[in-house]
């Protein structure tokens, strides 16, 4: 994959890449406005789609929150650490947080720079693997059985608890829980060592 995909047409700078990992890196490293514009074009329409689901179809609120999410993406881009995951996962987290903040709840977060952090000891050299993580994630998702994927998506995008998913889909709670458990086993196996 080529990483310098920027061309200049007249005085306009244009990014050819639509890879969020590449674009976010440029936004972070150089406060690159052209990369940000391309990232906006690529992800803002999807974020709005997510927020429409999360707000049960409130267009005004979804527009407002989408702007807030993209503003935070710009502001916080230098804090993105690609050794800890994909750009899209990070952006999902920002969109989720904007949704939670809207309802004014505090949200305790995992803190990867916690001085009290316990590590597993020396990590293998992961640099080469990092580039493949987004690809691995994509593959892991395509091989996830439909019922399991459905449970995850309901939680992610509609903000439903497992009990609420069980009720909404007329499925026993135990079945929903076991689908989530199986999904996580599947994902861990597919992504092992790829964090």
């Amino acid at each position: 994959m080529v990483s310098s995909q920027r061309i200049t047409i007249g005085h306009l700078e244009v990014w050819l890449s639509a890879d969020p990992d590449v674009l976010l890196k440029a936004v972070a490293a150089n406060a690159d406005r052209a990369a940000f514009a391309q990232l906006y074009a690529h992800v803002a329409p999807k974020i709005k789609s997510f927020l429409m689901r999360a707000t049960r179809g409130d267009v005004t609120l979804s527009d407002e929150l989408t702007q807030e999410v993209m503003l935070r993406v710009w502001k916080r881009a230098p804090l993105f650490d690609r050794s800890r995951g994909t750009a899209m996962g990070w952006i999902y987290g920002i969109a989720r947080n904007a949704r939670i903040d809207h309802f004014r709840r505090k949200r305790p977060q995992v803190e990867p720079t916690d001085p009290m952090l316990v590590d597993e000891g020396p990590q293998p050299d992961e640099t080469a693997q990092l580039h493949q993580r987004a690809e691995r994630v994509r593959h892991a998702v395509t091989t996830l059985p439909e019922a399991q994927a459905f449970a995850l998506q309901h939680a992610y995008f509609e903000g439903r608890t497992l009990a609420e998913i069980a009720t909404a889909t007329d499925t026993p709670l135990g079945t929903v829980k076991s689908r989530v458990r199986l999904a996580m086993v599947h994902l861990r196996a597919a992504l092992e060592g790829q964090t």
Binding site: A28, P45, K46, R76, R84, G93, D114, M116, A155, K177
Partner: protein, 209 residues
Amino acid sequence: MIPSHHPPDEWLLAHIAGTQSEGVDLLTASHASYCPQCRDRLADLQDVAGQYLSQMPEQNVSGLDALLANLPAQEQPQAPRPSRHGFPAPLERYLGDGDLEWTYVAPGVKKISLGFSQSEMPVRVIHLAAGMTVPTHNHPGLERTLVLSGGYDDESGTFERGDIAVADGSQPHHQRIHKGAPCISLVVADHPITPVGIKSTVLSWFFES
């Protein structure tokens, strides 16, 4: 030392989906500081959410020009703050920078109640003296514990720093605190705890929030 008792899968998913109560989220995030394994699983769940996000249909948006006209300065990574009381960072945020203000409960027992909104479950840091035994008790809902230092044994096993215990109210349990150091833990309960039998007055502390 890596913990041997982890949060249930649904806590991890609910943490990433943003559907968890604040108290249980605090337990999950604090456990993650101690547990590389759960950090990996959380990263998996978040990246999978990102993958689903990238497959979302597209809705019309029109705010790019407005954003570009007013882009603020970007935040830069800061050196992490040292841990004030030796607890995980997510918990430290609730404890402030001052000395810990413990409330006396009973001989060997003290607590700090964390400031949560009224609708939330009671969340406390509990300090139990080395070698003491907490009388048998049960409770109407779940009692969720993250051990922060020291350790204890109960009917379901041995719990030490970083371990999560979920006690179901239907099974009375009693804790034997390990000798040598006090056991400090973060406890999120659904309801006040009911001592079994009239002799146990030591647990009346759980009734006051």
